[in-house]
């Protein structure tokens, strides 16, 4: 299997693969944009870009938290269930006013993240197992709390989901602010350096005196919090809490956005700009397929192929 007799191919690969990992996501976005400009009627309209920007919001926000978790070498499979949990909380606490309801939803998300983080950081449970349990239990809990879809008629929540400032929807403003905050945290703070250091070599981080456990805990809390924000915004846009279907399989889109964007699943490196582009790529891919009248079935099969291809390309980085 190792191509000893083919040095020419190997040289090509060593150059092409890192380049593809670095810029592949932008090429993908550009290619989809060009394709749509040429083949999709009414693609080049302000209304369409608005729709795309609003639709990408939940996955984009989730993938920010996911990028931080993956940078530490972990994974969070529970983000979809945490979205459902926050949606259920909004519906339950709306009686106290929209602000209280949103706050409770965010606290619930942070609490779920704290449970994940405590299990991973302090009890030493594998991230995939801890968050899998939360994925099962969180969805169950939100369905126990709110058994079926519940319409939300609240002017505040509706304004959050449908309103706009300076011609840009609130949802887009919020995700832009969150992206800026996460970029700042990753690039300019000690905490951001710690995340990458732990993902690169946890043992070395411990030996050099980093607060490894505390950092891990905070990362999972942030991921839970961002998932709750995504759940709140999705609920506000839908004008309904739907714990049964909200966020189902969305963890897959979020993980893909992160991996496509050039953050390796092994951790030790994080690329927020790439993650944002990755989320946009997944959104454009789905909407392109839908606009060209491909049924959901083929959309999902195409997504599967893209995900596996992306992970396959990203895997090479781990080998150096």
């Amino acid at each position: 299997m190792t191509a000893i007799g083919m040095p020419a191919v190997r040289v090509d690969r060593t150059r092409a693969v890192p380049w593809l990992q670095e810029y592949g996501v932008y090429i993908g976005v550009a290619a989809l944009l060009v394709f749509n400009l040429v083949f999709t009627p009414h693609f080049l309209s302000l209304e369409n870009f608005r729709t795309q920007a609003v639709q990408v919001t939940p996955v984009l926000i989730l993938s920010l938290g996911m990028a931080l978790v993956i940078a530490t070498g972990g994974i969070d499979l529970s983000v979809g269930s945490v979205m459902a949990l926050s949606a259920a909380m909004i519906s339950l606490y709306l009686g106290y006013g929209p602000v209280v309801a949103v706050l409770v939803a965010l606290v619930a998300g942070a609490a779920a993240g704290a449970v994940n983080g405590a299990l991973v950081a302090f009890a030493g449970v594998q991230a995939i197992v801890a968050t899998l349990a939360m994925m099962i239990g969180g969805r169950g809990l939100s369905l126990v709390l709110l058994p079926q879809l519940d319409g939300i008629r609240n002017p505040g929540i509706r304004e959050l989901g449908a309103g706009e400032a300076l011609g840009v929807p609130y949802l887009v403003w919020i995700s832009a602010v969150l992206v800026a905050v996460v970029v700042f945290v990753v690039r300019r703070t000690v905490f951001g350096r710690r995340i990458v250091a732990i993902g690169g070599n946890r043992r070395a981080g411990e030996l050099s005196g980093l607060p490894v456990r505390r950092t891990l805990l905070v990362v999972y809390v942030l991921c839970g919090l961002l998932a709750a924000v995504a759940g709140v915004l999705a609920t506000a846009r839908l004008q309904a809490s739907d714990p049964n279907s909200i966020g189902r399989l969305i963890e897959l889109s979020a993980i893909t956005a992160v991996v496509v964007g050039g953050t390796p699943l092994q951790g030790g490196r994080v690329r927020i700009a790439g993650t944002v582009a990755g989320a946009v790529l997944m959104q454009l891919l789905v909407s392109t397929l839908i606009k060209h009248d491909l049924p959901p079935s083929w959309t999902q099969i195409a997504q599967t192929a893209v995900i596996i291809a992306a992970v396959y390309v990203a895997r090479e980085r781990g080998r150096k």
Binding site: V129, A130, G137, R248, V259, S297, Y312
Partner: protein, 350 residues
């Protein structure tokens, strides 16, 4: 007793050489042969003890729990998840995970119901073929392309769902199994008062247990899960072993889905969502380590029974929604994993 052992292990300073580590590469509990320590007992039989306790409490507090009808209901309800859990056990022993079995189960049901118009053989062959291929695809991507199992199987979970939607006209068509299908009585009827699916599960688990314990293939599974590099150096065909485990997992999920469709009489498209999580919970509750290299099929059977008995009790108590089951399942999973971590640390003496 265990405390003495752990100090002995740490005193020798050889994390792999302490007592009870006779199995070498096969994970923290050795080959699973058992040396009679308390930790080993809890790991092996903890689920059985809990099952017995839950059954005893239920028998005393709930009227009609121990009726033949109810017990049969539990057994048949547990049969199809148990078939999936058997395949999952093999995969988890190799240190992997298969998240695709839930939608593979759903896909198999729809395929079986569609193919049943061409007879019983088609109703079994088509889903088994397709699902075996999906499992093999998982295995090749994981073993040959060396991708992370959870992301591969999460992706094929989506792919199988898409395929199921494509077959069922975007989920709007529910195929019905025609009356008089030769397979139907073989699934629905009983032998000596025991449903055929239950008997099939017993046979499959017996075969699976023997294959795991008494064949070279089974030993390869343990070796790959315990330490992949060491296994490769010993000459174990790592890639082939992994591919066989994932293929088998796909096949068994397909079998469960096909039989479930025949049992129900139609290919219900929404069936199977989240069943992979139940299967994983059951396997882990049964004592198989998610880290790989240690496990046994009988535990998975007990795990499935335990979850189904709890489900039955939850349904029996009025006013509790069935979603409560998921909460119990998730908490059980994490409790068992925490207990396993604790036990294995004690065993390793650090």
């Amino acid at each position: 007793m265990t405390a003495v052992k752990s100090t002995a292990a740490s005193a020798t300073g050889l994390p792999g050489g302490g007592p009870g580590r006779k199995g070498g590469v096969r994970g923290p509990f050795g080959a699973g042969g058992g040396d009679g320590s308390a930790a080993e007992f809890v790991q092996r039989h903890g689920a059985l003890v809990v099952l017995a306790a839950v059954l005893a409490v239920a028998a005393l507090t709930i009227d009609g729990f121990f009726s033949v009808g109810n017990l049969n209901h539990i057994a048949v309800g547990a049969a199809f998840p148990a078939i999936i859990a058997l395949g999952m056990t093999f995969v988890i022993i190799t240190g992997g995970i298969d998240l695709s079995v839930g939608t593979v189960f759903a896909l198999a049901g729809v395929l079986a119901a569609w193919a049943s118009q061409y007879g019983s053989l088609a109703a079994l062959a088509l889903p088994l073929g397709v699902c075996g291929l999906i499992g093999a695809l998982n295995g090749v991507l994981i073993a040959k392309a060396r991708l992370a199992p959870f992301i591969v199987t999460l992706a094929t979970m989506l792919g199988a769902w898409g395929l199921m939607l494509a077959v069922s006209d975007e989920g709007s068509e529910t195929y019905v199994v025609p009356d008089g299908l030769a397979l139907t009585p073989m699934v629905q009827e009983r032998f000596l008062g025991i449903g055929y699916p239950v008997l099939l599960v017993l046979v499959l688990f017996a075969v699976g247990g023997v294959a795991l314990r008494r064949t070279g293939w089974g030993q390869n599974l343990y070796a790959v899960g315990g330490n992949e590099d060491a296994a490769a150096l010993m000459g174990v065909p790592v890639a082939r072993t992994k591919i066989s485990a994932y293929s088998l997992s796909g096949l068994l999920a397909g079998l469960a889905g096909a039989l479930n469709a025949v049992w129900l009489g139609s290919g219900v498209t929404i069936f199977g969502i989240g069943i992979e999580l139940d299967a994983i919970s059951a396997v882990v509750i049964g004592g198989t380590l998610l880290a790989g290299g240690y496990g046994f099929v009988s535990g998975s059977l007990v795990g499935v029974l335990l979850l189904n008995v709890i489900q039955n009790i939850i349904n029996g108590i009025g006013g509790l929604s069935s979603a409560f089951q998921q909460v119990v399942s998730g908490s059980f999973l994490i409790t068992v994993v925490l207990a396993q971590n604790y036990l294995s640390r004690r065993r390793e003496g650090n």
